[in-house]
Symmetry: C2
Subunit: 754 residues, 2 copies
């Protein structure tokens, strides 16, 4: 079911159709090459030794025995890596997260690495490395980390964003503030105010494919890296900077990716693999175990968020504020900032203020996770919205509709919106049959809204026409969700040829200009835009070639439906030339036919979603089952609706897991207790209902086809939607995610006993 | 020692320097990935069953037992391949050479193939394939093949180039004729005429790396091919055509190449590997054994050539003619045509005529071998020239100088020469100390000249500037002799930056527009040209970005020494912007900085060489040892002199092997008796002297830097130079190559007994 909110009158021929994605068969038959599938002659096995301490001084690392073990070709510590401490601190942080320098900052922090001829030897070598630690006090909880007397993670971190600048080091790395109006005055006008603290636990992106790479660096400083990543060009630039290599001399090839969701936007052991290879002068392959993935890569923040919203009895919000505390692991991040920006983005607020605190803990460095930081903020805000609606006796959907942002609204994080889809999604929810379905015992329904910015960025596309008129597109954005199919559709649309005539390939970094990574839902938006421009350039060449073949002026040639047509009285009767006919003669008319584009794709277009969720809670066990789920989201023009729907479903599925079960559990010793999929429980197929979707298409006026990013917004509403549904089902308000059986049981008990 | 024949006044900064080639270290340390080094998840081992008959009807192939063998995933015969018999005969010939259809045409001709889980199973499966042959009469000698009653190889071959068209099938697939003037009248004016028949045996390119590929074709018709080749774009187009695939859907990645010399310009088992993969729905790796390489890939022609040259006593040639019979193996070729074109290209002849006959035999399909067909023609012509010089009592060098072609000469194959280097090379030989060195007993000196056309063709280059100002060049021509270093030099020269700041990479076919293969000495010429144009395009972008950074008009910005300089009174004092500074800001000034070029690089510029050779012949054994060798050749501008010299040396080394020892030996049964490097003797290091080189630089006016092709001409003179030296040493004229010990002994015996 798709409404037509089109602001443009474009008619598409292939855009909006649903051909099979080109990587599908390889992936389901096991033929696709993932990160660990690369091989090189003479490759070594690289393994990493990790800290068993949450926080410890590394007094000494004795690698001598490991180095003497036959078959060991290199042993690496921070001493083998550049020390950028006195230089670029951001780079140094990245490097220190990959390999500790002086202190181990979290359980799992890399302290040394080996490269050996086989895994057995490498394991033996790890055991032969003797590290002398001196354990330090640690802190892993976001609220405890800012208590007086908490162990200070870094003595060089002074809270940024505070005036005057603090003189004492702090675990608050940054304070950020957004908003407008006068919240105090606004709250004073409110009839009802709800103020509450909400907490979420740390989750992992949970990609199926662990981090893996094959690195090869030669004595001349040239290197290659085969890696599973969301951004091989970024990896190239980052690794080059970290290791002092020339950008042009490090060729990074991206494998197929077995999930990333933000966790593969950041280097973890790749610089170590490169440095090991450089030291061993052999290719080195490093594949993380699942335990390593959990302990030392990519989780999102645990958070603690205070939300305060006030409204008139008529449902108009008079003020809203939030203080957001985001745990970023052992190195400074910008996660609270993003939470502070997104918190109230769905609403048209006169008085709004958000303050974010990025907080250091003895946990792995946090990285992006799908719409990073937005789900936790939305959990607090959208739960509070429901509580407030209940308090003023208003339907929570109508309450949201009444306050929803619209074109012209000044967003809480600053900009003024163009055409946006929050009201359309709410109206679609209102009209959805799901909202009228009957609920049974212990069942409840909730809804929530979500927002994500979306991002464009630097993008390059080359388009080459083969001798048979088939078209090869060279792109540099990793395909995480079917973007190769979408990009092919766009090229086919622009050239006027069938989808089947186009093949999109992700090039290595040596074969294309720089591309920002696949993040911020930029893939189809930005690469699609560059593809349109590259195709238009190629059409110019095709027209020139047709003109040459006809021996007429190029101005007399138009491009229509994949063919050149001669115009005017003089030439109008010439039979058309197909792209295939023109391509076949390319060698005689000037050489290969191509189009190129390098662009900074700005204005990706914000995206909004409203989700509906039905749950059934077992009051005996506290177990919650999601029994029906509907995602309504504005996609802008949906290039390939299947994969837009897939993104909607995938985000919702991850949000459901996050809401109900997933969490990092740290012991008092600061060590992660559940670094595996048995104890860290992501939803499996049988845990989920079919997730229904509805695509709204509010065109993005800044894209030729009206495309917006679509991949991230869908993970934002589920935490709150499920919380609201649980509240509706069993009458308890859950303020702590995951809303796991023990927490629900406790809430039910507390409610009964109170 | 390099003379300056420069017709231009260009001053180069980095062109002409000798940095180390970027692939060198990987190659000598074993890290380079060659054809057999590719792997894919679930890959199968492909093996090919080959005919033990030189010529036989394939009555039946029973694959049923092989198919039932556990672990066998596909068995393939011609029945699994398209039958293009009624369509494009040229394509069908390629396909039939890869897999026999109905008849086996030579010893080693593929008749079936298997793909199995491992090599052992595949070998077993080959043995289980039962082929019923009916042997047919065969012919393997080029002269015997055109005798009346010789077995006819193909009943559909009627000699082309004869008027009226013949009505009977023939083993002469084509007659070609070149020349001008009136040779009969010319010979009538001659004082002396030498007429003689010369024979050469079939040789193999002898590359160290056997053919190897990894093919993967999915059920959607998309495929990938990793292969050792001189032209992955050509392989893509050919394989796509043969198998009915879309060009854009077959991605071909070229490995490093362990030698090709023309033998890797042609598909052999690659289409079979692709078809096996398509049938098995798994990746399939096929690696030829050395025996397979010899029996069923890439040899050059055996030939029989009649040369007739007449001259006045003053040394002026009055007429020259040649009839050239080139054995092309079991499928039609154009080898005699090339021989006919090159025969007399070194000379300025008023009356000249060459007739070539391409002849079919029951031998493997001939393919290109470095300056294909020219060495055999030169053996006849340059040997005859020496005989004629002797007959008129003239120094053979002076005789050549007197008749050498020059600017304005109408070449025997048609065109009128521009500036060329044959006289300069002869003069350099004349002045070379080698010519005055003393010779000992049984030692002799010979010289000979050689010519090759050189070729340009379709070429694409992308140039991308990294964020640190280092430059990545994406090229599509396989690097067979250091061209990546040469291309980097060209980009550095044009951009005004150091060589070390540039890295050239060979892209896969999905990442760049079409490139003709590395053949015809086109690599550095054509890719260099496209690089120059791509760099100039990038400089335009760099100027625009600098103008944007300065906020001044782009017309006020010039590019100098790798920097942007603002000009004019108003802006002239602005500090210059380096490429690094501009690149660092690219994301803010319009996105990634690139230059692109697609070109048909015409007018590659002919190349001439004169070689000097000293030999010592052991009259007891007939063994000949080359004791000194000097190559003088016109390279046009030598971009990277080391690799130009390397080409000179490599061609000479191959020519020496061909001249003295290498030959295909067929038994009466039509089977190859020496398919291995033990019995087919290529020269090893200890067989060769240091080969001295002298580069002449007669600029090619059709290239911005004056570059000519350099790779091929150097193999043309050695056969004759050595023949002439042997004649000088021991007084016998060798008319049959290889001039192996038995043949020399026999000639010495014949001379003594006559």
């Amino acid at each position: 079911m798709a409404h037509d909110y089109s602001y443009t009158k474009q008619k598409f021929k292939v855009i909006g159709t649903r051909p099979e994605r080109p990587d599908g068969i390889d992936k389901v038959t096991g033929r696709a090459k993932y990160g660990a599938d690369a091989t090189a002659p003479g490759q070594l096995v690289g393994l990493i030794l990790r800290s068993p301490h949450a926080h410890a001084i590394i007094k000494k690392i004795d690698t001598s025995k490991a180095e003497k073990l036959p078959g060991v070709k290199a042993v690496l510590t921070c001493a083998d890596l550049p020390d950028l401490t006195g230089g670029n601190r951001d780079l140094q942080n990245i490097l220190e997260n990959c390999m500790a320098r002086g202190r181990a900052l979290y359980d799992g922090h890399a302290v040394a690495a080996v490269a050996a001829v086989d895994a057995q030897t490498a394991k033996k070598a790890l055991k032969l490395i003797k590290v002398q630690y001196k354990a330090l006090p640690h802190v892993t909880d976001v609220d405890e980390a800012i208590l007086p007397g908490a162990p200070i993670i870094h003595d060089w971190v002074f809270t940024r964003g505070i005036d005057p600048a603090p003189t004492e080091p702090s675990n608050i790395s940054q304070r950020t503030q957004f908003g407008h109006g006068d919240v105090e005055a606004g709250f004073a006008k409110a009839d009802v105010i709800i103020e509450k603290t909400w907490k979420t636990e740390q989750t992992h992106q949970g990609y199926i494919e662990p981090h893996a790479c094959l690195a090869s660096v030669g004595p001349d400083g040239s290197g290659e890296l085969w890696v599973t990543t969301q951004g091989h060009f970024t990896f190239r630039n980052v690794c080059s900077s970290l290791l002092g290599m020339d950008v042009a001399k490090l060729k990074v090839t991206a494998s197929e990716i077995g999930g990333g969701f933000g966790g593969k936007t950041h280097v973890w052991m790749e610089p170590v693999a490169l440095a090991l290879s450089r030291k061993a002068n052999r290719p080195v392959k490093v594949v993380m175990s699942r335990e390593e993935v959990f302990r030392a890569s990519g989780p999102t923040s645990s958070t603690s968020v205070d939300v305060k919203i006030g409204a008139k009895k008529n449902g108009v919000i008079t003020a809203a504020s939030a203080e957001l505390r985001y745990q970023g692991g052992a190195f400074p991040g910008i996660w609270a900032m993003l939470g502070a920006m997104t918190s109230f983005a769905c609403y048209d607020l006169k008085n709004v203020k958000t303050v974010g605190y990025d907080i250091l803990c003895n946990r792995p460095k946090v990285t992006a996770y799908r719409a990073p930081s937005a789900p936790m903020a939305a959990f607090g805000v959208e739960s509070t919205m429901d509580m407030l609606a209940a308090e003023i006796g208003m339907n929570p959907l109508e309450f949201r509709l009444k306050n929803a942002a619209k074109q012209g609204t000044r967003a809480s994080y600053g900009p003024v919106y163009g055409p946006i889809g929050i009201k359309p999604t709410l109206n679609a929810v209102k009209n959805h049959p799901h909202m009228r379905a009957r609920l049974g015992k212990n069942q409840g329904r909730g809804m929530a809204c979500g927002f994500w910015f979306n991002f464009g960025g630097q993008t390059c596309v080359d388009l080459n026409v083969g001798i048979d008129g088939t078209v090869s597109l060279t792109v540099g954005t990793i395909d995480v969700g079917g973007s190769r199919a979408a990009i092919s559709l766009i090229a086919a649309e622009e050239l006027g040829i069938p989808y089947e005539q186009v093949k999109t390939n992700v090039a290595d970094t040596a074969s294309l200009g720089y591309n920002d990574m696949t993040e911020g839902s930029r893939g189809t938006f930005s690469t699609g835009m560059a593809t349109i421009f590259a195709a238009r350039n190629a059409i110019e060449v095709l027209r020139e070639r047709a003109a040459k073949m006809w021996d007429i002026p190029v101005d007399a040639v138009v491009w229509e439906n994949g063919e050149a047509r001669a115009t005017g009285k003089k030439h109008g009767n010439l039979p058309r030339l197909t792209i295939k006919q023109i391509a076949a003669k390319a060698g005689n008319t000037g050489g290969p036919i191509a189009g190129h584009n390098e662009v900074v794709a700005d204005n990706a277009g914000v995206s909004f979603a409203s989700h509906i969720c039905d749950v059934e809670v077992d009051p005996e066990t506290g177990a919650t089952r999601v029994i029906r789920y509907t995602v309504v989201q504005d996609a802008g023009k949906a290039i390939h609706p299947d994969y837009v729907e897939g993104q909607f479903q995938g985000g919702a599925a991850q949000g459901i897991g996050w809401a109900l079960n997933e969490e990092y559990i740290y012991g008092d010793d600061g060590r992660l207790q559940n670094p595996g999929f048995l104890d860290y429980r992501i939803p499996v197929c049988s845990d989920l209902p079919f997730i229904d979707t509805e695509i709204l298409e509010i065109p993005n006026p800044n894209h030729p086809y009206g495309v917006r990013g679509v991949g991230e917004t869908s993970i934002v509403p589920p935490l709150a939607a499920i919380g609201n549904a649980i509240s509706n089902a069993v009458g308890v308000r859950m303020d702590h995610v995951p809303m796991s059986p023990p927490r629900i049981l406790k809430a039910l008990d507390d409610a009964t006993s109170s």
